[in-house]
């Protein structure tokens, strides 16, 4: 999350001032869009819950190595608002800690996708010609896979772990950012400030990374935050397939995967982790929708 926040702060450059002004305007619009506001508040709340999980959880040890076999599969009730699992662990605690995993892993996956996608897009856009063709055709190839399929294949092949699942998501996600950055860089390439830098003999890579990329970043960051929901959903799906997080990590998709053995007899086991995924992803999507409307003037005012 922190990297996203830092990158979103306005970069010094010709567009800095108007961007700040637009943000203030955007915030007002966001607050006026009820669905987006609900999404935003929920996201904020989830982040706080995740942050304060150690304080809020009734049994923080249950998120790690503790087990209480005597209390297995208790239905929701006082003491265990979400019930307990097959090893007697408090599911509320585990779902709460799951929020930490999903939010952090989502942020890392997106940051990694940006780290791959942005430089490639910048190089393609600035260099043009052969490199542009090569990078963009490769991008096309990767985009021609349905993203879940590619992520599944990569995660399956890399070996089953949360880290590899995050890597798989990043590896299947970057081309979207490459496309956006390339388009931005192409449109900025001929701007006077770039030509001025070139005339002063600034080397190409410095032009790209000191002038072009910072200015091309804004729309990418917006897109990345829109993708947060999908990334969390994909991660849960990979864990559900057994190729993401590994026990005893309380990742939501993994909780559902484990709970499916019990779901007909112990309904609470899959229900609560699933609700957590649903709420989180819906909140990000609501927020994202709102953001898109604010940033896309064509749909503004039609809400």
């Amino acid at each position: 999350m922190s990297s996203t926040a830092k990158a979103a702060s306005p970069a010094p450059g010709p567009r800095a001032l108007p961007a700040a002004a637009r943000r203030a305007e955007g915030l007002r619009l966001l607050l006026r869009n009820p669905l987006a506001a609900v999404g935003g508040v929920t996201v904020l709340l989830l982040a706080l819950l995740a942050l304060f999980a150690p304080v809020l959880a009734p049994a923080p040890g249950d998120a790690f190595s503790a087990v209480h076999p005597a209390q297995q599969l208790l239905p929701p009730g006082p003491g265990h608002p979400f019930g307990t699992d097959e090893l007697g662990r408090d599911l509320f605690t585990r779902v709460l800690y799951g929020a930490r995993i999903s939010l952090a892993a989502g942020a890392v996956a997106i940051a990694a996708a940006l780290a791959i996608g942005v430089p490639l897009g910048a190089v393609a856009g600035y260099a043009g010609g052969f490199w542009d063709e090569l990078i963009m055709r490769f991008t096309d190839v990767v985009l021609s896979f349905p993203s879940l399929l590619l992520a599944t294949a990569i995660a399956a092949m890399l070996g089953h772990s949360l880290t590899n699942a995050v890597a798989a998501i990043a590896l299947s996600w970057w081309p979207w950012y490459t496309r956006i950055v390339r388009a931005q860089v192409v449109s900025l390439r001929e701007r006077p400030f770039v030509e001025a830098a070139r005339a002063l003999g600034v080397p190409g890579w410095r032009i790209v990374f000191e002038h072009l990329v910072p200015n091309a970043l804004a729309p990418v960051i917006v897109q990345a935050s829109l993708d947060f929901g999908s990334v969390i959903l994909t991660l849960a799906a990979l864990s559900f397939l057994g190729i993401g997080a590994q026990p005893p990590q309380p990742e939501w998709g993994l909780l559902i995967n484990t709970g499916r053995n019990f779901f007909l007899t112990n309904w609470w086991y899959v229900t609560f982790p699933g609700l957590a995924i649903f709420l989180t992803v819906a909140a990000f999507n609501l927020l994202g929708d709102g953001l898109r409307e604010i940033l896309d003037p064509r749909t503004r005012g039609r809400v």
């Binding site: 190595s65 087990v67 053995n261 007899t265």
Partner: protein, 533 residues
Amino acid sequence: MRRAWRIAAALLAGAVLLAGCGSGGSGSAGGGSEAQGGQGAQGSNVAVYAVTTEPMIFWDPSDGFSNEIIAMNNMYETLLRYDPSTNSFIKVLATDYKSSPDALTWTFTLRKGVKFHTGKTMTSADVKASFERTIQHGKGAAYILDPIQSIDTPDDSTVVFHLKYPAPMDLIVSSPYAAYVFDTDVLKKNGDDWFNQHHEAGTGPYMLKSWKENDALVLEKFPDYWGGWKTNQFDTVIIKPVEETSTKMQMLQAGQADVVDQLPYEQLQALQNDPNVEIVKTNSWQNLLAFFNTKKKPLDDVRVRQALSYAFPYQSVIDDVMHGMATQARGPVPAGLWGHDDNLFQYQEDLEKAKQLLDQAGVKPGLKLTLTYTSGDENERRVAELWKAELAKLGITLDIQAMPWDPQWQLAKATDPQKRQDILMMYWWPDYANPYSFLFNMFHSEQTVNFNLAYYSNPDFDKLIDDANRISATDRSQAEAKYAQAQEILVRDAPAVFIYDQSYVRPIRKSFGGYVDNPAYPNVVFFYNTYRK
């Protein structure tokens, strides 16, 4: 385009209505499917066996070494069948046999008038050809036939096996793998790959009717079966892969399945109250072990391995994970198999003792160990998590890693022992009723690592079990004494935690009669012995 939508919409709406009527009309309390199933499996003489994974992995009776044995043992037969409950042999294709005193020559007299599904009558030539083909293929479990030097057929109903070294040939020809007798003539006509094109040519009571991958294997009775037929036996047997445990349970309750290979405890508990379901529990020969990497510090120290053996929550695993569907293992040879020693030392959980041993070995809290288990195995996962909790009390962190079997095995075979895991969990079960299978494969010194995943090497132990195996065909009690001695050494050296011997727990319909679970034939239902009550 719009017209197309309208038609599609109409179709779908109609369809939904129909479905509503269907289940509403026939469904009593249990819903539509249940009512229909009730008329099906119950009324007819069809038996349905719901198994967790696709049974037909291999089709060739020479190569089969996997799930297909549950079908193969109904389509094909072996010379003898071993009954561990009485430690005796049931005569199947052989009516009699004898061995020379040195156990190097074994003579089998064949049953007369046995027909293959192809119509041909079985003779000693077919038996010889079957075994020779399996040996020549060298796939699957063919290595169990390694002792065979040559096969003679003095007449149509006599087969003589000449062995390279003494071996319990009666047990070997009873093996659920690699010991089937089949009609090899059809292969001459149709090519050696004919079986793999989903054909069979056995003598068994049931023959192949149809098969659809991941859907169902349908067998029907072979009218000319040598044993003859009674009216209440099953005409049709369906073996159906059903992965989802909830579905299996529902099929059993609805009478759509007569027998289910396994269900988790939670579902078994729910089934206990069902008046139509019975639960059959038998000792199996499958056990679970956790191997220590004896080539890596600090597990190279026997005191550390013993400490970790004392820090294992045996009772909790039996009670809370297996819910009594297993018993704590006593050494590597499971209870119920000859060679098992009831007086062998057994570790009990004792954290104080574990702590002392660790102190003696100079192991400080903060030790980190990695454990691998096979992904998807819920029992292994829960066992690992319970152990992790106990080890945490000693200041040891256990990192649990689920891996598919082949990467798990590859890691275990890494050239550098330091790169391998610290602890590996794995099941073992024998290829035929032989304790040597456990002791040799898992603990005999190995040049290149195969299944000795503790990398244990002890010449005394090796000698004891090799000797025991050599005399097992002639002097079973002497062999058992040597095996017991070997296991004492093993348990003291603690290259592995001997966790539990698993029980087979099969939920069956009460109306499914004649079912006996034989642990020598894992998961096999001999449908010829079963009938509709």
